[in-house]
């Protein structure tokens, strides 16, 4: 009754191509933004920050990146973990080499470095397709992890092989390390996540997005109607890797603080982000957030209910989590390949008609 599109129409193409054409959706979107920016910083604490909000926001950025490459452009990548590592190590080297420069600048530069690496590893995509390409990205994954493990320059010759985030602040507020302020770290990541989403949305609804989707749907036809496959695929790799690199940089510098590359950025990380976009919805910016939220909240939920509530040992809860995640992947692929985003869309459509059935 309150959620209707009657009387809500566009009279210009500009109006028609906006992100939320229906007024109700738009207002709901603004409300979420207001809540996120103006309310949460005042009520957030360390636990909520580190258990939920930070991983959600940071993984969302990675999911957006992978969604651009795999969901929009159809190039499957199993190298996300490795590329996040590139972002993390790039920001580490930049922070330690130029301590006076703002961390925000460093994170963006780290994204740029990762974009370049992404282009290099993306070159084979011109000859290799489908899951041959997926396996080729494994080469990137394993090689990069090995590189950051074995070449001491990357971890500044430290004895442990670990990298730790030096203390940094912005406008007088500490952002990294043990003394960081939760609300400040939260806002930093929220800004990155929001800006990433905006940029991704603009790119995917324009000419760039259409080139990517054309390559995904039928690359031969795309080439015949005038899409340059080289520049389309490489641009997807570049932009995707930029977001993944930013995510990795934030993951290391403000979330974990210390990283050992094999544990944190191994192939399981690649699968995790892939699962996020499958469950959330391939080819959907909202889906990237939904999938990230789902896979961040699930273990927290399971732990609280099973271990806290029923007294299960933690490893048992972990095994069940594997089973649930694996099972859900299969269920989503069978029943709803477009993920939570599609379920959400269908729910909204039904809601717009409610209480009428059709």
């Amino acid at each position: 009754m309150f959620y209707r599109e009657a009387g809500d129409f566009s009279t210009t193409y500009r109006e028609d191509s906006q992100t939320f054409p229906i007024k109700f959706d738009r207002y709901r979107y603004y409300a979420v933004l207001v809540f996120a920016f103006a309310v949460v910083p005042f009520i957030i604490n360390d636990y909520w920050l580190n258990a939920i909000f930070l991983p959600f926001l940071i993984y969302s950025i990675a999911a957006i990146g992978l969604n651009i490459l795999t969901g929009y452009c159809g190039q499957v990548s199993l190298g996300t973990g490795g590329f996040m590592a590139v972002g993390a190590y790039a920001v580490y080297k930049l922070m330690t080499a130029f301590p006076d420069i703002n961390i925000i600048v460093h994170v963006i530069l780290a994204g740029g470095v990762t974009a370049l690496v992404g282009v290099i590893f993306g070159l084979p995509s011109l000859r290799i397709k489908g899951f041959y390409l997926a396996v080729a990205t494994l080469a990137a994954q394993f090689f990069l992890v090995w590189l950051f493990n074995r070449v001491p320059w990357f971890y500044n010759y430290s004895a442990s092989g670990q990298i730790t985030s030096p203390e940094r602040e912005f406008l007088g507020v500490t952002l990294t390390g043990a003394t960081s302020e939760p609300w400040a770290v939260y806002l930093l990541c929220l800004v990155f996540a929001t800006v990433s989403a905006l940029i991704a949305r603009n790119l995917t609804r324009g000419a760039m997005g259409r080139r990517w989707m054309a390559i995904r749907d039928m690359d031969i036809a795309a080439e015949i109607i005038g899409v340059n496959p080289l520049s389309a695929k490489l641009s997807a790799f570049a932009i995707s890797s930029f977001f993944v690199g930013v995510s990795g940089a934030l993951f290391f510098s403000v979330y974990l603080g210390a990283v050992e590359v094999g544990e944190v950025f191994g192939i399981n990380k690649s699968f995790l982000v892939l699962f996020m976009i499958i469950i959330g919805g391939l080819g959907s910016i909202f889906g990237s957030f939904a999938g990230a939220a789902f896979l961040v909240l699930l273990p927290v939920l399971l732990k609280n209910v099973l271990v806290g509530g029923f007294g299960w040992p933690t490893d048992l809860a972990a095994h069940l989590e594997f089973m649930i995640v694996g099972g859900l992947i299969v269920v989503f692929l069978i029943a709803e390949p477009h993920g939570i985003a599609q379920l959400w869309r269908v729910a909204k459509e039904k809601l717009r008609l409610w209480p009428f059935p059709h």
């Binding site: 000859r127 080729a136 494994l138 074995r150 299960w312 995640v325 299969v330």
Partner: protein, 328 residues
């Protein structure tokens, strides 16, 4: 003969044997891919699950003991028996066939006609599921597997090579046995695919589901058969590797290693899987031996993938795969 060359020969032989095992695992992939177009990422986890089940069955473990104890507050762990290896293998094989049937009915029946990448991602989901299931059934600790295979350094080779080269090659008995078994299995599978009625039906299904149906081939039967055979291959691979380094999570990573083998050999070629396995096995070990010390070692983590990647760039269909012709 110069020392380096002798060491290289030893490395080469070890590489060959590792290669045979890779080929065996890769073969499991090829069979499923040939018959159903599915690239079964879960093959490695299947090997792990098979090995865990074997140990569990032989030692009389109660499945899901950990879970039952958590829910009911009990402290049960074992039935109290010990089964001989052969019986254990038989029982495990039955479990794997049931698993094949379940996987086919619950998952892949619903995904007929989907694109390969969707099927691949479904097998990744399956792999995670089975890993959790295996851990929950049998516990995630490292287990020792002993089915009576000989282990330890082969003394005959050690002495003989010492007499010839003044340097005794260290070749493990287990590796020799594993290679022989794997080679026999590969031979049997090749003959099965080429010469039997079922093998021919399998190849028909791999080519064209509809056409195979129209000549009376039961798709479900073929698929269950293929997954069962793949399950058996997984069991053998699981036994080999499990005996060597214990039954633990890293067993499932073998599946990942089979991927570059397949990329080299082409996904649909049985001889390709064999040749690819040998090339990767030898190549890995030799590269680590020759170049590894210069760049920090542990190159086996990535060498196979980079090699396969480079090959694919120049020959996208692999060494033996069919040339991909695109039509509009």
């Amino acid at each position: 003969m110069p020392d380096q060359l002798i060491y290289a020969m030893e490395v080469f032989l070890n590489g060959l044997m590792a290669g045979v095992l890779y080929a065996l695992v890769a073969l499991g992939f090829v069979l499923i891919y040939k018959a159903s177009g599915i690239f079964n990422y879960a093959q490695g986890v299947m090997a792990l699950f098979a090995a865990m089940t074997l140990v569990g069955v032989m030692e009389g473990q109660i499945p899901f003991a950990h879970l039952i104890n958590a829910i009911l507050g009990t402290e049960i762990h074992h039935f109290g028996w010990h089964l001989p290896a052969l019986l254990g293998i038989l029982l495990t094989m039955i479990v794997m066939v049931i698993l094949a049937w379940l996987v086919q009915r619950i998952i892949f029946k619903h995904l007929v006609g989907q694109e390969p990448i969707i099927l691949f991602m479904a097998t990744i989901g399956l792999a995670y599921f089975m890993e959790g299931l295996g851990d929950m059934m049998w516990g995630a600790n490292i287990k020792k597997l002993d089915v009576g295979l000989p282990q330890g350094i082969n003394l005959w080779i050690d002495e003989t090579t010492y007499n010839i080269f003044d340097y005794g090659f260290f070749i493990d008995n287990l590796d020799i046995v594993a290679s022989i078994i794997a080679a026999i299995l590969v031979g049997v599978l090749v003959m099965f695919a080429q010469y039997t009625k079922e093998g021919r039906a399998m190849r028909a299904v791999a080519d064209d589901h509809q056409a195979a149906l129209s000549v009376g081939v039961s798709l479900n039967f073929i698929w269950i058969m293929v997954w069962s055979v793949a399950g058996f291959v997984a069991l053998v691979a699981g036994i080999m590797w499990g005996t060597k380094s214990g039954v633990q999570f890293s067993l499932s990573l073998i599946a990942l290693k089979a991927l570059p083998v397949l990329m080299l050999g082409g996904f649909t070629s049985i001889p390709g899987a064999i040749v690819g396995g040998l090339i990767i096995g030898v190549g890995e070990k030799l590269f680590e031996f020759l170049v590894g010390p210069l760049i920090g070692g542990a190159t086996e983590n990535w060498f196979a993938y980079v090699l396969a990647l480079l090959l694919l760039v120049f020959r996208p269909q692999g060494l033996f795969g069919e040339k991909i012709i695109e039509r509009v």
